[in-house]
Subunit: 168 residues, 2 copies
DNA sequence: CCAATTCCTATCATCGCGATAGGCTTACTT
DNA sequence: AAGTAAGCCTATCGCGATGATAGGAATTGG
C-alpha cells in the first residue's frame, strides 16, 4: 500500500502544478480542495520544501509554491523523500541496503530474483514519470471520460502468457 | 515490503519443487534448510495446503509435498493467498475493492492513474511467473555466478527517458 | 503402544502509520 | 505599532498489522 503521506503529497503537488500562476497557496486551501487533514498536510509540505521541491512564504498572502518546473519533478523522488525507499526487500535498496536476515544465500535467493524484476518495473514507472506528465494524464483522463474513452490501455503489453488480464 | 509470510512461502515452495521426488518433507527440514522459524513456517504451509497448492501427511514419514505441477503455480496467487491483495491503493484491487476515503474524484485521481500502471506492471511479473520458471531462474543464476555473468538484464528495456538505471 | 508429525487456537510484543495538539516565528496589513 | 494570517517545529497518541511463540489435540507409521 502506498502510504497516505505519499498519496497526499502527490495530490498536493498536482494541485500546486495547476495553480503555479496564482502565487503562494496556503495549506488550508489545498487541504480543503483535496480533503486532506490540515496539520498532516502541513508536515508533508514542509518536508517537500526541505527537499527543495517547494518554496514557502510566511505571514498573510503566504503559502507554498513549486520551486522547480513540473517537468523536472520525478515522482519516484517524491515518494522516496516522504516514505523512504520503496524496495520490496531490504537487499534491493541501493540507498538503504541491508542484507535480509532470513536469506541464506543472496546470490541465489529466489525471492530476490523475483522481486528484483518487480522493483525494476516499479522504478521504471515512478521515476520515469514527471509531475508534468501526471498532470497531463489527469487532463487526458478527464477529457476522455466524457466520451467513455479510457486512454492508455497499456500499449506495450508484450508477449505475456496471453492469459486473463491480471487483477488484484 | 513483501511480508515475511510471503517470502518464507516462496522459499519453501522452491525448496519443495526441488524435492518433489523425495516424498513428503517435514516442516522442520524445510525450516532448517531455509532458516525459517519452525512454528511460523508450520502455519504458512498449512495455509498453502488449505489453498490447494500442497498436500500433507501426518505422523512419522509425514510432511508436505507439492500437490500440483510447478508449471501451474503462479507466484502472484501464492502471495495473494498469504498476504492478501497487493494493490498499492484500495481502489485498485478487484477482489477487495473499496473507495479511497481521501479521494475526491476517483475517475481523475492522479495517484490512482500513476499507481494503476505500477500495479499492472507488478501483476504482469508475479502472475506471469510460475514456480517452475522461478526455480529455473535460480539455477541459471547459480550457474552464471561462477562466470561472473548476470543473466536477465531486462532485455525489454523499452524507450525510457534514457536516464540512469533506477535505484531504490 | 510410542513417537513423529501435522493441525488448530490463543496470545503476545513490537512497530510503523496516520493523525492531533499546542505553541513559536515570521511578515503582511492597517 | 498592533493585529493577524500564515508557516514552522516538537511532542504525543491510538490503532492495527506483523512476526512470532506457546501449548496442546489429532493422526499415523513402526
Amino acid at each position: 500500500m502506498l502510504p497516505m503521506k505519499s498519496r497526499y503529497a502527490l495530490k498536493a503537488l498536482v494541485f500546486l502544478a495547476r495553480h503555479q500562476a496564482d502565487g503562494p497557496v496556503p495549506v488550508a486551501g489545498i487541504a480543503a480542495a483535496e480533503a486532506i487533514p490540515v496539520k498532516f498536510l502541513e508536515a508533508i509540505l514542509l518536508e517537500l520544501r526541505n527537499s527543495g521541491i517547494l518554496t514557502s512564504r510566511r505571514g498573510p498572502t503566504g503559502g507554498y509554491q513549486l520551486r522547480v518546473e513540473p517537468e523536472t519533478v520525478h515522482l519516484g523522488d517524491v515518494i522516496r523523500n516522504l516514505s523512504g525507499p520503496m524496495a520490496p526487500l531490504p537487499c534491493l535498496s541501493k540507498t538503504a541496503y541491508h542484507r535480509c536476515t532470513e536469506c541464506v544465500d543472496e546470490a541465489t535467493c529466489a525471492v530476490r530474483l523475483l522481486m528484483a524484476d518487480v522493483h525494476a518495473a516499479t522504478l521504471r514507472i515512478v521515476d520515469g514519470t514527471t509531475l508534468a506528465q501526471l498532470v497531463a494524464r489527469v487532463d487526458a483522463s478527464a477529457a476522455g471520460e466524457a466520451e467513455g474513452q479510457s486512454e492508455r490501455c497499456r500499449p506495450e503489453q508484450g508477449p505475456v502468457s496471453a492469459k486473463l488480464d491480471f487483477i488484484d
